[in-house]
């Protein structure tokens, strides 16, 4: 007669101690593992680290404070992230052709990266012609913007523009919309790169205006958009630059939140209602290949912001507490060696962003360490998002890593570290002071050097660079996308001719009104930027005049 089956008792008393002894014996020379933010990583996480007892307070449900599990009730299950590839090259016509192609391949929103000459505040006839359109689209006027967005339904398509102060690209968009009869109230999108502090930290976009002036124009811009372009997000607070420049994930999140607090405080000081402007604050982050660390960074950041918005900034509307962010896979992690390996890197980075709960995503092209992306590589980047979403089913479950002993513990640890750095900034007098004194730039520079030292010592593997190198034949890569010099020359000549044919009186008048607004603390400078764009003023003219009125932004040499 058989004995009744007994379920075996798998875990015995003392099992944890036994695991500790066994793993210590087997793991050998286990070096301490530390993530990029400096947080030590244990080999195993269990209920001893996170037991779920504080679930309601620390996690809650998606769409409910503190939003650790996501800012919307259905997250990607209900609506996947916006597929927003950042593009920009050549003339407005070149850009338009590429934009329509990306939309045909699955992209669902517009992004526009202007030529670096635009970031520097100049028109195309003021700069080295060789560089025009090599890194972004040459958009200098409302006419150019209209051409770039031909065939796009402005009332139904969200447009994100890399548009630092004084936000001429939005002004050109509004002028173009008015000409098409599209009301401003229907225009949606985001002013990327409106975060002037991040430009001072990372120098990625040149601030054309000295920081005090840029600080004021930003508040003017937020105020104007809140009133006149209510679906527009006038502020994108950017951690991406800082992390690309070397900040650790925790530093990037801490500095970004610290900047957002200052911008919000400036709006409050202007008498604005937090529940009017905070729902339109957005964030923009780098997503590195440090997979779990990035996920924890986003979950922690969401939780901190919900608390800050409510308790510190006085927001009562839950929409003000939601931490909406765009993620971009990290270009710094990509290698020139064996560039196809970057497809794998980008996929892992994108997964971290998706599990981190982002609202929109740009995946880098695999050839970004070689050149401005080629068309084929840009399509692979879009396909990567489609694969993760529709083949791998990453969107089926909300916050699928929530409840993992490791992820929850790491989220807590990242939160503590982020708060520690935010306190440092606070003690230095807030983000404006901490940037003016160079504190933040020095921290970022030191982190960049520490990371480089880890790569050079081999402590951090970079496949194809410091390990697993292979001989690669040179000169077998795809030809690069470069603007046709003849086409660019024609663009330049037609711009010059158009400029000369304008009514000089209207241009001068608009620029004078702009200058007067810059000197009048009660006026709204951005309102006059829009008026100038409508009057036919160019980007260079607007920036040049404001540079004179508000001062030029110099940069500190900090090594």
């Amino acid at each position: 007669m058989n004995k009744p089956l007994e379920s075996p008792r798998l875990a015995e008393a003392g099992s944890r101690e036994r695991w500790e002894t066994e793993s210590a014996a087997q793991i050998g020379d286990d070096r301490p593992v530390v993530n990029r933010s400096g947080i030590p990583i244990a080999p195993l996480y269990t209920p001893c680290d996170w037991d779920g007892s504080g679930y309601d307070e620390a996690l809650g449900y998606p769409g409910q404070p503190p939003y650790t599990r996501g800012i919307y009730a259905t997250m990607h299950r209900g609506r996947t992230w916006t597929q927003r590839q950042l593009i920009g090259l050549g003339t407005p016509a070149d850009y338009n052709a590429r934009l329509l192609d990306l939309i045909a391949h699955g992209s669902t929103a517009v992004s526009l990266i202007p030529c670096n000459s635009v970031f520097r505040g100049y028109d195309m006839d003021e700069v080295h012609e060789e560089l025009l359109g090599t890194c972004g689209t040459v958009v200098n006027s409302a006419e150019h913007m209209g051409r770039a967005l031909e065939g796009i339904d402005l009332a139904r398509t969200s447009c994100a523009m890399n548009d630092p102060s004084p936000f001429t690209l939005l002004a050109f968009l509004l002028a173009a919309a008015k000409r098409r009869g599209v009301p401003w109230s229907a225009i949606s999108g985001t002013s990327n790169q409106s975060d002037c502090l991040s430009h001072y930290v990372a120098n990625h976009m040149f601030f054309r205006i000295a920081l005090p002036g840029a600080r004021r124009v930003l508040v003017d811009h937020i105020d104007f958009c809140n009133r006149q372009v209510p679906k527009w997000n006038p502020l994108s607070v950017v951690g991406q630059h800082m992390q690309q420049a070397g900040a650790t994930p925790a530093e990037a999140m801490a500095f970004t939140l610290s900047s957002a607090i200052q911008y919000a405080q400036d709006c409050l000081a202007r008498g604005m209602d937090p529940d009017a402007f905070l729902p339109r604050f957005t964030f923009f982050f780098d997503v590195s290949i440090s997979f779990f660390e990035e996920i924890a960074k986003f979950r922690a950041g969401r939780r901190i912001w919900a608390r800050v918005a409510r308790e510190r900034l006085g927001a009562r509307d839950p929409r003000s507490w939601r931490f909406k962010f765009h993620g971009q896979t990290s270009g710094v992690d990509l290698t020139r060696q064996q560039p196809l390996n970057n497809v794998a890197r980008v996929a892992v980075q994108a997964m971290a962003g998706i599990f981190g709960g982002l609202q929109s995503l740009h995946t880098d092209a695999y050839d970004e360490a070689l050149s401005t992306p080629t068309d084929g590589a840009a399509r692979v980047a879009v396909a990567t998002q489609n694969i993760l979403r529709e083949e791998a089913h990453l969107t089926d479950v909300i916050d699928p890593l929530g409840g993992s002993y490791y992820v929850e513990t790491l989220t807590d640890r990242m939160e503590t570290e982020i708060l520690r750095i935010m306190k440092l900034v606070e003690d230095a007098g807030g983000m404006y002071r901490a940037v003016e004194s160079g504190l933040v730039q020095r921290m970022v520079g030191e982190s960049a050097r520490r990371f480089q030292a880890k790569v050079e010592s081999g402590e951090q593997t970079v496949v194809g660079v410091n390990r697993y190198q292979v001989e690669e034949p040179a000169g077998v890569r795809e030809p690069l996308a470069k603007p046709d010099p003849a086409v660019m020359r024609a663009h330049l000549e037609s711009f010059k001719a158009w400029k000369a044919a304008r009514s000089p009186a209207a241009v001068v008048r608009a620029l004078d009104v702009l200058a007067a607004a810059a000197q009048d603390r009660t006026a709204n400078v951005f309102e006059q930027v829009v008026a100038a764009a409508e009057a036919g003023c160019t980007h260079g003219e607007i920036c040049g005049r404001l540079r004179r009125e508000l001062g030029f932004g110099h940069v500190q040499a900090i090594v």
Binding site: R120, L131, T134, F206, V559
Partner: protein, 140 residues
């Protein structure tokens, strides 16, 4: 090979782009390696770089380029030669496509370092090239 007077290097960026992680990390490494480093923020104009190179009597100029600013390095080379600084070794580091590298070398650039280059590789190159720069300057 060592030189008695450490190499004097100008690390800078010309053109439109401001991504300065590379130039800062390289400058700090060269300084820590005992070289005399003159570092500038990004967005230098070509005449300003020539003036600085002349005044500081540098052996090497390092130009960092993440975007496409390397495309105007040939203009810098012409300006250096016109100022009598043709013997200064100009090195470019950053994202430089293969075809553009050939163009830069043809314009007189001494060496191009790509992403993934080790800092010590750059430092050693500068140590090696400096005596040659000084020798050709002495005979110029």
């Amino acid at each position: 090979m060592t030189t008695e007077v450490p190499p004097k290097v100008l690390v800078t960026k010309i053109g439109f782009d401001g991504h300065d992680r590379g130039s800062r990390v390289v400058a700090a490494h060269l300084r820590d390696a005992g070289m005399e480093v003159i570092y500038t923020p990004p967005w230098q104009e070509i005449p300003a770089v020539v003036k600085l190179a002349l005044e500081e009597d540098v052996d090497v100029i390092g130009i960092s380029s993440l975007a496409t600013d390397h495309l105007i390095v040939p203009k810098l080379m012409d300006a250096l030669r016109a100022a009598g600084l043709g013997e200064v070794a100009v090195i470019v580091g950053g994202i430089v496509p293969d075809a553009d590298e050939a163009m830069l070398l043809k314009s007189g650039v001494a060496r191009v370092f790509h992403p993934g280059a080790a800092l010590e590789e750059i430092a050693q190159y500068i140590r090696d090239v400096t005596p040659k720069v000084r020798a050709s300057r002495a005979t110029a």
